[in-house]
């Protein structure tokens, strides 16, 4: 079964979002998503400084099987990207919640709290299984 840490927020498009102490957020894809995609072979990250709207493409993960866009969970500015994930794409399979892909400075601080909590995300995953 996929793990769903309770201290994270989630999107319907299977990203996880972690609030950092400095008000920024780290974004990755969920364990459920990496399980569906299978072995990762390529990760494309956004450019630092890019302004993104919520729900906009902000990266790509490609497995042996398929390519999938990664979306910005909230509006904001890309302030960091995790090059170690693009160097070792399999880290997404090994530790989906450790392998953050980019960090955003949200345009509005409250936006993150409007995302799904762990319980709501698990319900979403369960509903998609049918």
């Amino acid at each position: 079964m996929s793990k769903t840490p309770s201290d994270l927020r989630y999107t319907k498009s299977h990203e996880w979002v972690k609030k950092e102490a400095d008000g920024t957020v780290a974004v990755g894809i969920t364990d459920h998503a990496q399980g569906l995609l299978g072995d990762m072979v390529f990760v494309e990250l956004p450019k630092v400084g890019t302004q993104v709207a919520a729900g906009k493409e902000c990266g790509v993960v490609e497995s042996v099987k398929a390519a999938s866009d990664v979306y910005a969970p909230v509006a904001g500015e890309v302030i960091a990207v995790n090059m170690s994930v693009s160097d070792t794409p399999e880290s997404v399979n090994k530790d989906a919640y450790g392998a953050w892909m980019f960090k955003l400075k949200p345009s509005a601080a409250g936006d993150v709290d409007k995302l799904l909590d762990a319980k709501a995300y698990e319900a979403l995953v369960a509903s998609e299984a049918h």
Binding site: G38, D39, V41, F42, E44, V60, E62, V64, K65, A66, A67, E90, N93
Partner: protein
């Protein structure tokens, strides 16, 4: 629910992710497709290929029948046990299926063909056989099939199934087989590695699978089977060729025997016509030079015109993306083409394939 092979429960027990493949519930992987791929390139793996269609053709006129039915020449098979890879064509030269035919004795040949094309293959072969009185065709759902492939595959088969295997099957050259009762062992495969394909009674397959597992042969899913065959430059029916393409446009000219001229196989006239007017398209290998992954149906562009990726994936052995693409005639190895990868034009190099054989890169 799809058809299930006798190994279905075994796959589930081993934690396989099951998917539909040509109407069959088959394992796509047992955890990691890439690890399974490396397992076959570096050691030994086994594939349940019991979904493939085994049919026996018998009768006095069976060789005569196969001379007409198949684009490759059955008369290349001079001694019992020999195997031949060939296409079966329609009158337009389009590929109905690709298959392996085994010469068992003068009145008995065995064909192993694809699962996804079962119904049309059977209808076609039955209709063609009618003109050769006395040729009978019998499907063998009572048989199952395991492919054991990899540099250590043969040794592990001897360890699992007995040292007498070394005496009988160990001496076989590629594309040969030996039959011992209902057990048939062939030196064929779909990975570019050494190994055997074993056809055996369905009721014995679970036990055999278990014995191979205990000898250290790891189960491999259809996902790795696809990346292995792509690296080995082997065509996949339905992706790289179908009824709308001739073998000449599909990198399979080597499987078409136009000599002797007297042999009037189905599709011959169409192929001769295409050769006379010029084969307009060809299958080439591509290696992506930029980062990304080539996928089926992506568009390919170069000076000669447009083409399409027929089989594209990531090559675990080469750690880069490779593909088979159908492009206009005249595109030569060494040329660069552009591929539309999700809206971006990336550069790929045209190469001769196979990409990988016996664990090693064939790229210059």
């Amino acid at each position: 629910m799809g058809h299930r092979t006798p190994l279905y429960d075994k796959h589930v027990e081993l934690g396989a992710k099951m998917v539909d493949f040509g109407g069959w519930d088959m394992p796509i992987h047992y955890g990691s497709q890439i690890e399974e791929h490396h397992q076959v390139r570096r050691d030994a793996g086994m594939f349940d290929v019991s979904h493939m269609v085994v049919s026996d053709f018998k009768g006095e006129k069976v060789r005569e029948f196969l001379r007409t039915l198949l684009a490759n020449n059955i008369d290349k098979l001079k001694t019992p046990g020999r195997a031949l890879y060939t296409c079966m064509l329609n009158a337009k030269g389009g590929v109905i299926d690709d298959l392996i035919v085994y010469y068992l004795n003068d009145t008995w040949y065995r064909i192993v063909s694809n699962a996804g094309t079962h119904d049309k293959d059977m209808a076609w072969m039955n209709a063609a056989a009618k003109e050769f009185g006395g040729v009978t065709m019998t499907e063998r759902p009572d048989l199952a099939m395991i492919a054991v492939q990899g540099p250590n595959a043969k040794e592990k088969v001897y360890a699992a199934l007995g040292e007498n295997m070394r005496e009988t099957a160990g001496k076989l050259k590629p594309f040969h087989s030996v039959t011992i009762g209902e057990l048939m062992i062939a030196t064929t495969g779909y990975t570019g590695e050494e190994g055997f394909e074993i056809i055996l009674p369905a009721k014995a397959v679970v036990f055999t699978w278990q014995m191979l597992g205990e000898a250290g042969v790891k189960p491999i899913g259809l996902g790795a089977r696809d990346t292995l065959r792509l690296e080995a430059g082997m065509n996949l029916y339905g992706s790289d060729m179908d009824e709308t393409t001739t073998p000449l446009e599909s990198g399979l000219a080597w499987t078409v025997a136009l000599e002797p001229k007297e042999r009037k196989f189905i599709g011959r006239e169409a192929l001769e016509k295409q050769l006379a007017t010029g084969v307009p398209r060809q299958l080439v290998g591509l290696v992506l030079e930029d980062k990304g992954v080539l996928r089926n149906h992506m568009k390919v562009y170069n000076a000669q015109g447009e083409g399409e990726i027929m089989s594209g994936s990531f090559s675990p052995t080469l750690s880069q993306s490779i593909a088979l693409a159908r492009v206009p005639a005249g595109v030569a190895p060494g040329a660069r083409v552009e591929v539309d990868v999700r809206g971006k034009r990336l550069t790929a190099k045209v190469v001769k394939y196979p990409f990988v054989r016996n664990g090693k890169s064939c790229l210059e």
